[in-house]
């Protein structure tokens, strides 16, 4: 899977997805649970806003000094006996990993959850070489065996499915005969995928944060699968977005505190694993070889743009968990592996406007996302900025540009505006009957699909005010 997950136009996609009642119920349910948990965890920590400020300033400091910290990180990884690949593009990253896999004669790979490996389309490249790739995160595994269904959430990728659907998938694909109890389903998968951990030649993980001072990588999971993926196979490849690092363990502490609470509403997740290089001579387990693949794939361009603050993101999905648009259309509607507000900002930057031009408009600018982001990314402002970039580049529909042009023309001439308001009030009053209108312009038609039109008065406010003034009713 690469970043783009659908060929359908956006409007067609949401039409289909919004009819999926299971998805809508599952997402609404999960959203409320996660939103509540996040809020409680933030309150329990106290001074949450100060923590967010600290998170934002740490991330900004890293972005300002990214060149320095990347060199430090790379030097440390090599000093620890690891290998480093700086990949400018997705292809460079996958080619490097493909080459390592070939050198190792790898037949099978286990992966723990990683968005960036999806972004670069790693699985297809490995599978093309006849390598069996097993996603070991429960959600990712469900999607993988469900004929590569697209992820709908950056933390909980199978959030659009309910337990009965998962039971059915396991029954169809793995011969599962148990109940739809989450515990039983999970136990079954744990036993089923254990064999893959043992067989795997290579373990591939993402990287929540790399720590520059020690050349370590931190993996934050709830299932322990990242630990098995890195402890059993002889080779470990970690893939990271080039911005995902912190200077020292001190900053890691702050970021992990923010991430766990924002993502799952817990002070800590089940497993926070910090790995530093391959195993040493006197150690019993761990990989013999460690590779760190640092992926740019468009991030340098973002760093130099007015969208820079999006690179603060630590992939917690709190924005999606609070977004009302996401709630109703679900993650797959975004047509990108990155969904929700973060996806609507990031996807056009990494994948271009041609494929993702609709996403910045799938937002009412309610700014609920801004308020929950643990690193204070002004997501709604960035979505508006996307609209500005598209409007300035004339990528918006001609009809829209003409309408806006006509509006500006009237709006910048107070006399014409005044007459338009007067006429508008009269016309609305005459034409709207019982919340409906006989001849509806397209915009009114769209509105009227779900809503009645307002009751109005035949007289504009300004006419009322002027009359009253003339009659001496007001003081002015």
């Amino acid at each position: 899977m690469s970043m783009k997950t659908s060929q359908q136009p956006f409007k067609e996609r949401i039409k289909v997805k919004m009819q999926d009642d299971v998805m809508r119920a599952s997402v609404a349910n999960a959203q409320e649970r996660m939103f509540g948990n996040r809020a409680r965890a933030a309150d329990a920590l106290g001074n949450w806003d100060d923590w967010r400020d600290m998170g934002a300033s740490i991330r900004d400091h890293v972005l300002e000094n990214l060149d320095y910290y990347l060199v430090q990180l790379s030097d440390k990884v090599i000093e620890n006996g690891g290998h480093v690949c700086f990949a400018k593009t997705a292809d460079e990253a996958t080619a490097y990993i493909e080459q390592v896999a070939k050198q190792k004669n790898a037949r099978s790979v286990v992966k723990s959850k990683s968005m960036v490996t999806e972004e670069i389309g790693l699985n297809q490249v490995l599978e093309r070489n006849g390598i069996k790739v097993v996603e070991t995160d429960l959600g990712e595994y469900i999607l993988q065996i469900d004929d590569h269904d697209a992820p709908s959430h950056i933390v909980a990728p199978a959030i659009h499915k309910n337990r009965r659907q998962v039971q059915q998938i396991f029954a169809d694909k793995l011969g599962y005969q148990g109940s739809d109890e989450p515990e039983e389903l999970t136990r079954f998968v744990r036993e089923h995928i254990r064999q893959y951990f043992v067989q795997a030649d290579i373990g591939i993980t993402g990287c929540n944060f790399a720590i520059a001072e020690s050349g370590s990588i931190a993996l934050i999971t709830n299932e322990g699968n990242a630990r098995l993926s890195t402890a059993l196979p002889k080779t470990h490849i970690a893939v990271m977005g080039m911005e995902r690092l912190v200077p020292t363990f001190k900053e890691l502490d702050v970021m992990v505190s923010l991430l766990c609470r924002s993502a799952v509403g817990l002070p800590l997740t089940g497993y926070v694993t910090v790995l530093t290089g391959p195993k040493e001579a006197d150690q019993l387990d761990g990989p013999e070889e460690f590779h760190l693949v640092i992926v740019d794939n468009g991030r340098s361009d973002i760093l130099a743009s007015e969208f820079k603050s999006i690179l603060r993101c630590i992939r917690c999905a709190a924005c999606a968990n609070t977004c009302p648009a996401y709630r109703h259309i679900g993650g797959q509607s975004y047509g990108s592996i990155y969904s929700g507000p973060i996806g609507a900002v990031l996807s056009p930057l990494l994948g271009g406007y041609e494929d993702f031009q609709d996403l910045p408009y799938a937002c009412s600018l309610c700014t609920a996302c801004n308020d929950v982001c643990p690193v204070k990314i002004p997501l709604a402002d960035l979505l508006l900025k996307h609209r500005e970039v598209m409007a300035n580049a004339k990528l918006t529909p001609l009809k829209e540009r003409l309408t806006v042009g006509a509006f500006q023309l009237i709006n910048k001439h107070p006399y014409i505006w005044q007459q338009s308001i007067r006429l508008g009030a009269k016309a609305a009053n005459k034409m709207i009957n019982n919340g409906d209108m006989r001849f509806k312009p397209q915009a009114v038609e769209e509105w009227h699909e779900t809503r009645d039109l307002p009751h109005t008065s035949h007289e504009s406010f300004r006419d009322w005010f002027a009359k009253r003034q003339n009659n001496g009713g007001s003081h002015d």
Partner: protein, 239 residues
């Protein structure tokens, strides 16, 4: 006290009762209300669609129109107030205009904010018998940070009981052009908002943004609901 009034295009042409009641309310609290007639739309439909740089000419005309006096400018809508507060940033490349925008922004107040912080509302004597729910619009509560003011005012209304409702702070789905450009999503949002409101069977839906009320009210009417939709100015003028 002399005050200037920014009616907003929605209240000027469609929800006229909101603008009228706001004027009457301000007068009752001792204000002389002035209405600069050359005022136009704050520009929100274009600006929120991404046409900010194309809107600068209209914004300047607006600023000039509102400079007719230098009284506090009162606006009965959070979203239009927030838009005017955003003018200085939009004009940041033109220092002289930016300064004029800043001066305007500094004296622009949302209605409930002005009532609570600048006027004595102890003699309001408003009465409205029944159960009301309050919808905190996104512009008011999140963009302007005005959360307590409407509640302080509504608590002074005799006979009115305020009830909480599920997901109270979630956007109603209006979002200006969003409501027609992404009508499917907007429609789903307002449908759920109407459900949540109806789940507590109130007599009144109260808000401080006419646009959100037009949106939610339109949905409630479509469902045949008898909940009365009222702007806070209308509530405060109820006897």
């Amino acid at each position: 006290m002399n005050v200037s009034f920014f009616a907003t295009c929605i209240c000027d042409a469609l929800s006229t009762e909101v603008a009228k009641q706001t004027v009457l309310l301000l007068e009752q609290l001792g204000c002389r209300v002035h209405f600069p007639v050359r005022q136009t739309c704050c520009g929100q439909p274009a600006i929120n669609s991404g046409y900010a740089s194309q809107s600068l000419a209209a914004i300047k005309v607006q600023i000039a129109a509102l400079e007719e006096n230098d009284f506090p400018l009162i606006c009965p809508a959070g979203s239009c107030t927030a838009m005017i507060h955003g003018y200085p940033k939009l004009l940041q490349d033109e220092p002289a205009w930016q300064q004029r925008a800043q001066d305007l922004s500094d004296r622009t107040f949302e209605l409930t904010q002005f009532l609570v912080h600048h006027l004595d509302t102890s003699q309001l004597n408003a009465k409205l018998e029944g159960i009301g729910v309050y919808h905190p619009s996104c512009s008011l509560s999140r963009k302007l940070g005005i959360k307590e003011e409407p509640i302080i005012l509504l608590k002074q209304v005799g006979g009115l009981t305020l009830a909480p409702f599920p997901n109270q702070e979630t956007c109603c789905g209006f979002g200006g052009t969003f409501s027609v450009k992404m009508a499917e999503i907007s429609g789903a949002m307002v449908t759920e908002k109407a459900e949540h409101i109806q789940s507590v069977t109130p007599d009144f839906l109260i808000g401080a943004d006419a646009s959100c009320l037009m949106n939610i009210g339109g949905r409630l009417r479509r469902e045949g609901s008898t909940i009365r939709v009222m702007h806070i100015a209308e509530v405060l003028m109820s006897r």
